[in-house]
Symmetry: D2
Subunit: 239 residues, 4 copies
């Protein structure tokens, strides 16, 4: 059981009827239900809550944070974004989803622009597993399709992933590094591309499997807490 917080901007669902029909209670609720059904301890948090629903106490109690945002990245307070970044460095798992490639926490953790190409015509996306031994691929076939997707295309301006798990093929001619693992500080990050709000992507079985795997993978382990600062010479143990 992992302590998961699902963060969502929660704007499209309330402002756009079509999106509201797919996710009547918001993308965060759909994802929270999935994770609860898998036995995790799940909270949600949204942009318009106080401190965006992410006071320090919530983050301190979060093992893995999912993040969905799109049209209101700029409304996320800098201090809250920084708080998220600090918790990741401290060991919290972080799963930025789809348009969260442009979220403040992800961009700060990557150090790059995280820019990309995009197109919104509902084309086919096919995700290919390039690292079949990676735990995030558990239970999957080696490729699967999202029937209607917003396209994201390379050049995706990110640091070279520590592990590249999925590469997407798009009907219109592009490719994309769709599943990217990073370690930053003591925390694990998995960027996962699919998830456009206008298609019911998060109800698709393979997508749900990936998210479940990613939560397990990103959960913190109890490694050493490094000391930083002025250090005495090491006193060797006596032989």
């Amino acid at each position: 059981m992992v302590s998961v917080t699902v963060w969502n901007e929660y704007r499209h669902e309330r402002e756009n009827d079509e999106v509201g029909e797919i996710y009547p209670e918001g993308i965060h609720t759909a994802l929270a239900e999935l994770l609860e059904d898998a036995g995790h301890d799940v909270r949600t948090a949204t942009l318009d809550e106080d401190e965006h629903g992410l006071p320090q106490a919530v983050l301190d109690d979060t093992d893995v944070l999912l993040w969905w945002g799109h049209i209101a990245h700029d409304e996320v307070r800098d201090d809250v974004a920084e708080r998220v970044v600090e918790r990741v460095r401290d060991g919290m798992g972080f799963l930025p989803l789809h348009s969260a490639h442009y979220s403040k926490p992800f961009k700060r953790l990557m150090g790059t622009s995280c820019s990309l190409k995009w197109r919104e015509v509902g084309e086919i996306e096919r995700l290919w597993t390039v690292e079949p031994g990676h735990p995030i691929t558990e239970g999957l076939d080696e490729s699967f399709e999202v029937p209607e997707a917003e396209m994201y295309g390379e050049r995706f301006d990110i640091p070279q992933p520590d592990a590249l798990v999925f590469v997407s093929w798009f009907e219109g001619g592009e490719v994309f590094r769709s599943g990217c693992c990073y370690r930053r500080g003591s925390g694990r990050i998995f960027y996962f591309r699919p998830g456009h709000e206008e298609y019911p992507v998060y109800f698709q079985e393979e997508i749900r499997q990936v998210l479940l795997n990613a939560v397990d993978w990103a959960a913190p382990t109890d490694g050493p807490e490094p000391y930083f600062g002025n250090a005495d010479p090491v006193e060797p143990i006596e032989k």
Copy 2:
């Protein structure tokens, strides 16, 4: 519970009294006891058994293989070495220990000479964790010492690790990449440096912790089995 096979050359312990005192029933037995106590399903296999104790059926039933060898790498049959390599590619975890840097399976999986510097004067080794969020560091302090160690020094001729977990400092002036993770095919590999036969290194608590962590980390996950060969164009699913 992981199905583990501990392979040992098992020569030093029988031919050298001092080594035999430390490991009267062989390094493999000491390691097997550790892993059994942790709840794993453990077998041992040694060089002088038929097929070195590694017929196909044993490997097929092995999730993680530990490998200790030193003076008789050349006596390992090529077909058995290749069988191990194939099983790693197929998903089996592989933990080459100490002088197994020169074992046939490890060298074949790396594609490099795996050469290094060495010195045997029982000097202090201090392992520093450079990746504190990695599961293999669970439960450890950020550094620990092996009071008497054979030195291995850089240049260690290996491919750049997918993740570098430990770096060793040696009393005599060298450094070494002591804990190196790789993925090859669908299998995970963790090379771990400490473990010289003339010192009771495998009874040291931190070393045991690393081995337990590594077995958990290297155990296979049930990812896709890729298809290789001539392929028809992909038939997109109907939207």
Copy 3:
């Protein structure tokens, strides 16, 4: 000026009329002319020559070796393959092209099966640059097409590249890591996918640009020659 050797199996061109029309004097000659025009010192070598045209003296005098093979990988002598591998470790650049993914030297240097999917229907391949700051992309647009290509599809069973430069999109629905950089020993390796013998791929301007860039990138630099073996403790210099 780099000392380049272009190795070619040189069978298709002599046995298949269509291939022979595209490369009347062999793929090696076409590549050699390109590299000579760029000012390099170029030799060719082919399978049916003595020692496959690669006696030790030739390799010792080679900075970068291009390798094209397809139907006769097995006819390459093991000792010559090993000689190539040793020279790469010793610093020689190595550029396995297209079907050389299955060549003996590449497979030994990778330690993996190097298997993949393939299809031969002359479909469109589009290569996307995913690492635009890499020297191998110099002078290129961010994507370019090979109008008729044999498809290679993921899962490509290789170690994670040290740098992934190109990813291919294929008309029939696959993706592929098409330009992969590795360092093995002191040598640099660049696997480049395009180059099927039935299409005039090596006369295409972008492909030629990539090959020229890759030769420059893979040329050895005069770094330290590591010492391997038994080592005395380091005598610190006097302060």
Copy 4:
């Protein structure tokens, strides 16, 4: 010939007599002379100049930027730090030296805290080359010593380097990843550890060799400029 700008905080040299004796005209001047002698086109810039000597026009005309800072990281204006970061993403090489691990541009490009251990007792540092085929090691022996150094010790909180070139051994018992290569955006970054202001480290031959190599390595190449934004489906070329 590379267009190089050497940036220096330039405070220690003016405020501390001992440092002033070693670098009477500042570390930047010592480094600039080295690079000029190597044939590069060199400028210097310092903290107390207008815009820290780094107006946009200077950065636009800079191929590689060296950065030395220590006690006044906070005085660097955020907009200038961001300007540097943007130019790196745009292709400029960036060489943060020693205590610049804590500089604003480096921390933003890394996305991590860049924290470490330190100790200032003038102990011996020995740098070991772990990647002898890397261009930054050209002309070096496989290890060399800095006779009096400030210690930096692991855990160094950085992303896993794209290439790890040097690892340091310290007399007092620590190790450190001393030479780390990254690609961020289209730019190359090389962090190089030695260089404490109280010792004449930048006059040491091996250190100078590394800096010269690093400037050559980090100089931009003329790769594609990616398009970011809304994109039409790709129109395949006519076969």
